[in-house]
Symmetry: D3
Subunit: 78 residues, 6 copies
């Protein structure tokens, strides 16, 4: 009967992707620790980007700073 | 000075019901553990149904699957 | 299928008191919001006093400061 | 690589204020515990006032009750 | 840069099993949402059984009650 | 009346350092958002290293892997 909380930046995860996360984490806990899927709860918190900080900066500022340092990198990692 | 977090699916809990939860949990901690109501904090997180998983499925899919198994059950439990 | 987390300072709550909290919160959610007790999860986090701050101070220092201000109060509130 | 979660009532914190919180907490962990800012994550949860309880009441009711007791206090503390 | 928290009852999960959970969740977020493994944080909270409630009961009492109802079931599900 | 949770790896933070974190976060919220220190709660969760993952690995394995890549770095960052 585990409880899992997944916090991600709110950037357009689809219902299908969320369903994949729920299925994947539940199955992982069944396989690794034999926990019962029927009572495994998974919640996903989508946090607005201005409310998420990394490296001392709001995440969009952080990515801009990273991109400025490494201009060849096509797309910032989330 | 306890901190309580109540996570529920977002399904129309009213301000009155939330006030009842806040009063009820605060009183429970006072009665059982003599904790001071003045510094008991209660937060309620309402989580969108597509962000809540149980049994490896998003909760609405889970309820639909349960209802399909037990068609006589009038209303699914939340 | 709510998830409730109760955080308290670690100060000797007994298994019986914890069972009372679990029963009380689960029943509250059933009464107020008709949530299913069978899938209501309650976890209790007991936090060491040196890891709990209130009023800008670790909780034991805070209580000492409150007691110094109000020497007549026999026992500090938790 | 600490993870910090700041929960506040949703009452109009600006992006600039949030950036100050993120920078301040990250710097605090670097100064006090030498934790690496590059992997310090800070999330801010803004909780609707009707979902925040203190003293057994939703926070706005609590403030109204406090103001009624101490009518001279110009503005309630958040 | 997701943050994942996995809460389970404390029942002897080994370091190897924990490493599998960490690797599995991190990989799941990379596959489903293209999140960067380098900044994915996973924490595992092992909660003492007397601090975990389900069905209104501490988890060991809950399992005993379930076993009494279904005596043929060899081993309770966690 | 904010609630702040600071999660760090359990690596010997002293009571004095924890008191500094509590004072620092409480003061930050007072300065930036005018939140009342008297009702600001700060909790510190110290998580065993085997229960903390980053980059898909338990944190000690992660640091060992980083050190192997950059052998000149005297001391790994936490």
């Amino acid at each position: 009967m585990p409880c899992v909380n997944i916090r991600i930046t709110r950037e357009g995860a689809t219902p299908e992707q969320k369903a994949e996360l729920i299925a994947g984490v539940t199955d992982l806990l069944r396989r690794v620790l034999a926990r019962n899927p029927a009572t495994t709860v998974v919640t996903i918190d989508e946090v607005d980007c201005e409310n998420w900080g990394i490296g001392g900066l709001p995440v969009l500022d952080y990515r801009a700073a990273q991109a400025a340092k490494a201009p060849a990198m096509k797309e910032p990692r989330r």
